[in-house]
Assembly symmetry: D2
Homo-oligomer: 459 residues x 4
């Protein structure tokens, strides 16, 4: 297949060589077949251990699992229209007649499929996605620490509010992302397999084995998994659902970070910028443009993959011991992991070369700094007994806007407020008059959050 | 790229050779590049017509559009990170120095991208998808006519209601699908292009041309398109949104049909069956099973693609003259066409070999036929003046259930109802006593619907 | 019920007195009961016309439909747990024994419910929502015309691009909203009813009437409706689905407008502002703030109601002649109309008092005006034969950024470009050097769009 | 407000008296105001404890929080258009001048709103929803135990598979529901508050207090809450997002149960039934019908509320220190709790009077019991060395279907299989020939699951 013949941009465009190196063992069609063969091999291994067949048979099956190729399975499936039976038939070709019966012995297809899926998603998360996320997290921690004291105006509703530091702005993402890393780890580690047969009652295994629950536990243990408590033909959907929720809610955090960064790059704001490569073209027709297209791309991928949760919730519903209407839809779940990983790598690259403009942050703050004193003024007036300080200050800010004079001056001149102003300490007056001093515990909290998450995540 | 290295099952599994033969010219990455080159060529052609460059230049560019390969564009993009500038640079390599300036002349990237997308989706729909849908529609019409008189119980809430015919059951899908075919055709034909420049004000073209609106109209006419009324950097989103809605709402109709067919295959119902191929395996472990997996697959694909409308609605929002956060997400739209087309072809295959069991339909009806008379009985009693016929009949049905006796007998014996029964005509009594005669105008309406849609769609 | 005991904020907070005055006849629970009673009355009227009962009976039923109260229906429903049977029982109490049988005669519940819903949504749209939308549209047209020449920088990716006029910015919303108004009108007018009985085969009506299709048509005509072509127990879902899509895609356009307006209010941009009322408080703690909360509210309501389309698409699927799993969900559809109407009225109020700051728009443009000439420069250089004008200008813009000198100066000084510069006309040089002249046909197109939509919508 | 004037069916129809008795303290508009007043009171209490004001002031404010009415707050909001400032103004009317400044002292609106929301959702879950869920869980446990041995055919793809017991069918829901109860508890207990001020940097509180983090912790502790680690103006969205996910994924489990139960009520299956009340009407026109409308209602509510997660995920994105576009949408979140609670109570009512028909279950199983031996036969043949047992049995089942003869007979007669049959033990032959014995460990696992969840949930 020529890659230009792809209809899905994921394989053509976004699942690039770096991602392939990380995820090919878990998320491709090849990986699917290999992991399913691994389940077959693990099953026969435990059958041997329990005395149902010989260890030699288990060795043969293990070998077959290694050598069976996706190509031959696909050919067989084209013939018989059943993917697991195709795998079984293909593996049988690689073993002796004695071993043949012990491939897929007492299993149903979804013992294999759901167990293999759990193995693949768990490993894709633990060995692929989480290291990528931790790399981004570490980078954000370093950035937050570097900018812990960098003054920036806090923006609510797109309007200037009270000042923060750019370090705190980033540290809040450190914390939110940290929480999602934990959620992904927890739910990935809790992905479950099942070896409970065609309707979940261990019908087949219990005619051959005394303790089918023990059998199930041992097979899954071979793969580093544990059994779901109440599988039918399939693993109950909640384990995968929780995992997908963790991925999706993590994606939202990244999309939020990307949105913030691209807005901070608006021409009128220009507090951060993405360093461009020498040859890079910003616009096909406006040669001067520097577009935040990487951040836009993250938001776009979120818009694409977030609604997939509707599919996931819909797939929680499966009739009776199961219907197959979740089969095709679940084949597409690896796409979400790839989509998220692509965005993580993209953010790591871009945040890693983010240029911050502390001087511009200070200038932007200056636009409204005369007004920022309004909040501490109102609080201190109230603290010293003014009965309606909020209203008094609100009127003064209107006056400041009309006259163009600084709020601080008007405050100091106001006869009505004189008695309260007199009670305000020198330090407090400084804060009212100089917004740069009104950052609360921004820098301290930045460091607290960085320390906390570094420790919690073992970075 | 090895197809087994795909992470998206669409290319690996569902976009098969038959679909490729139909859609490769419109929906692949290659097709994207080719169609964008076509827009460039059309633009230069109109520039020549308007005297800005020579016809010879336009011929050169037309040739470059034909020979430029996706591979060279991809290589250039890897270097400069801008896909349309990469296309332009690549095309320039195939023309003389004189022609070079007239490639992409006065255009912005999304003049090319959005116009090419409109061309591709319009043609994919009109030349690819609609013929497939019409084939399915024709097949359903034939099936409905064949089964126009085949008695089947109507089911509401999964419970037996009044009888219909299986033909009517199918004809209702003929009508719903017919309506969606019209919706897809209408919205596909209304997909629009734009040649209005970087911010939609024709800034660039108006410095070179007297009538930039005429220029836009002529370029799009080369491609069989018309301009959108109010593009910014991009075509306003509603045209694609309406098209995607038509596709999605069509997919729901198919999913409903698939659901109904698989429920009619339930072991206890067994009114229809999918003819199996000789070698086909139903279950890896239960060799006797015949699973309606094709119908389940259609439902599953619907669960996968229907939520994509959330992405589409989200992409209606683009900041100011546009932000790029709809770019990646819109690259994935062809997937929806392929997903739908796959389900259409699947249904055509399966419905074409659907086995219907008229005898079983009649047997199922017999399970409750004693009760089916309840509705006409209540209506006729009411018509002859019974003041609370519904309640009277409801009590009789409870009595029938308790005693196991047919409702008809109880009706005829009832002293309370005797005076009303006496007024009921012989023909009406027959209908009460024989549910097979209580099918209303099912057969007639079946034919009406088939005739109407055959005519409306020109089948 | 105390309104403070509401759990849904819609009735408590958003469905205010103005909206109630417009929609109470169509969208409340009362309206539901009244409209269902109207369907019963219309049915008996046509029965009389067809000779099944007397006109006097039809008059009685019409009177019962007027006097029956939601309260008595609710009481009866609490007793028998069936809403339409409760309506029928309640209406019977208001008529003579002779008339009783002809209430709900040959009907099934969803003949009444779906027909009444079509009547309510159609009228809510045509008489309530569309006038509100047209008021907003007229207001936007007036605004666009007023600002047709007001210079504003076009923004793509949040970055300054080429200039437009603020009038064109608004006119593009005029056009998009105009298109949605047409879509809502078309789909509302196409909402359908049905009188085809319990399984859609006219089983009951055909035992009493020679031409049940004629009967259905006449009943619906009484209510200004036409029959759906292929109802089962219910009207096929596509008519309501298309209507909901029109509403939802319209909501997206409003959300986009709201997003743009709130970004233009960012402190650093400040091109527009919402006029505040004298007593209005912006922030509970920052007395100086003016938050664009009305625009934010529109976006928020869109986030709430847009995903309702998932429910709507899911409700397209109904098993066999129908299952009831769409019943509760469809009861909530009026919420979407109310949510949209609330946002329309809100935008009308806010856009009607929008303060635009033309001076600030010009100042913002000045930030990058030295660069805006890059696009026309590149085009004109190319037009005069420069083989790689885009690259030449891109390098010059980098030089301008490094040196802080205007691009125009660098262009005029460039020895490399001198031969091309010499060929550029005086008028074209002016455009390169003065971005205010590089607005293409912005003003002209603004007026074209306003004229076109005024005419198309008959405003 | 007349309840019939509601446009939302939730308040009119679904939030009934029983639910009101449970949730009115947490989920109504009244509860919102009261809980916000509680946050104000808690804040002043801690200010007193820290010496900023007197305990007498704190007492006054506590009293004001109790007496302030939603009506007066609503009136004030109508005047000043700011809901928290309206609350503060209203509370001030109930205290002395000395106390006035200490209401809302150093707080921002969303300190109050988000903290109150956390308090309300946490208590609504722990005190309202979880007891309802545990009641349903206990009922399902009792049902599962009662039916632990009741033979039922397992259904996959709507087709008969191997047998299970009805107890196991239910026990699997016990387990899935148990898991969701734990998820709801965990995420509800983890809902967080914040007292970090207008931009999350504790700007205001740090000018008055030495340790604003300690202050935040103490205020929240008053309400049984803990601080979120990294609030901006608002609590970071992930805590509520995880809670909503727990609710939604729980809703899916209930919808799945409802779907299964209504399919088991299909006329042709009839394994369970909902006991009807004496006066209850099943159909307005088909007096004999017993529709599973309660189960259908649960599915319908799921279709309505599940897509709300799109809103929730969208609300994870808030610009910079926050934008208000999540405000209206989050006001509607209590609806999801009510929708879920309504469905839980409905299921408890219906499952509590579920009639199961063990005889019918056995009859249904009998339809295919001749085939059920296919699975154990294939396994035992394989175990005794048949190289392609699956294929051998598959052919035998085709033969059985063609001849109408039991599979068991054909097995025993087959010459080809004779050598393998001879090796099968008597007990194993019994299982092949009598499907009632082929239930694996269904009954045992039923009890294991019931015991486990009873213990884990402390029921």
């Amino acid at each position: 297949m020529d890659r230009f013949d792809c209809v899905s941009p994921l394989d053509f465009r976004y699942y690039d060589d770096k991602l392939r190196a990380i995820f090919d063992d878990y998320l491709t069609e090849s990986a699917r077949v290999r992991s399913e063969a691994m389940v077959e091999a693990a099953t026969t291994r435990v059958l041997a251990r329990m005395g149902v067949c010989s260890e030699a048979v288990a060795d043969e099956v293990a070998h077959a699992a290694e050598v069976v190729s996706p190509e031959e399975v696909a050919e067989e499936e084209a013939r018989i229209h059943h993917n697991i039976r195709a795998l079984v038939n293909s593996m049988k070709k690689h073993v002796s007649d004695e071993a043949k019966p012990y491939i897929h012995f007492t299993l149903t297809s979804f013992d294999v499929i759901d167990t293999a899926t759990a193995w693949r998603f768990k490993n894709a998360a633990l060995k692929g996605l989480l290291p990528l996320l931790e790399e981004l997290e570490s980078l954000l921690i370093a950035l937050a620490r570097r900018e812990a004291e960098t003054l920036q105006v806090g923006r609510t509703h797109g309007q200037h509010g009270s000042p923060v530091t750019f370090g705190l702005t980033i540290a809040e993402y450190v914390s939110r992302l940290g929480g999602r890393i934990e959620a992904i780890r927890t739910t990935a580690e809790d992905l479950r397999g099942k070896i409970s047969g065609a309707v979940g009652a261990y019908n087949a295994s219990s005619i051959m084995l005394d303790d089918p629950l023990e059998f199930e536990g041992q097979v899954l243990a071979e793969l580093g998994l544990t059994p779901s408590p109440a599988s039918t033909q399939v693993v109950e959907a909640e384990f995968v659902t929780d995992f997908m929720h963790a991925l999706t809610s993590c994606f939202s955090v990244l999309a939020n970070l990307a949105d913030d960064m691209r807005h901070l790059q608006r021409t009128e704001i220009s507090e951060v910028a993405e360093a461009f490569e020498a040859e890079q073209v910003g616009s096909s027709t406006m040669p001067h443009k520097r577009n935040p297209w990487n951040f836009e791309n993250v938001k776009s991928m979120w818009k694409l993959f977030m609604p997939r949760m509707i599919t996931v919730y819909s797939d929680q519903i499966s009739e009776h011991q199961r219907d197959l209407s979740n089969s095709a839809s679940q084949r597409f779940l690896p796409e979400v992991i790839v989509g998220l990983a692509n965005s993580v790598m993209r953010l790591t690259k871009i945040m890693g070369r983010l240029v911050t403009d502390a001087e511009r942050m200070r200038e932007n703050l200056r636009m409204t700094e005369g007004m920022i004193g309004a909040e501490p003024a109102y609080i201190l007036l109230a603290a010293h007994g003014h009965p309606d300080a909020h209203e008094a200050v609100r009127k003064l800010t209107l006056q400041a806007q009309e006259t163009g004079r600084p709020l601080g001056e008007l405050l100091q001149e106001s006869e009505e407020l004189a008695e309260y102003w007199a009670q305000i300490t020198e330090r407090q007056r400084e804060i009212i008059l100089d917004p740069a001093q009104y950052t609360g515990i921004a820098a301290r909290k930045t460091r607290l959050l960085c320390d906390m998450w570094e420790e919690r995540l073992g970075l």
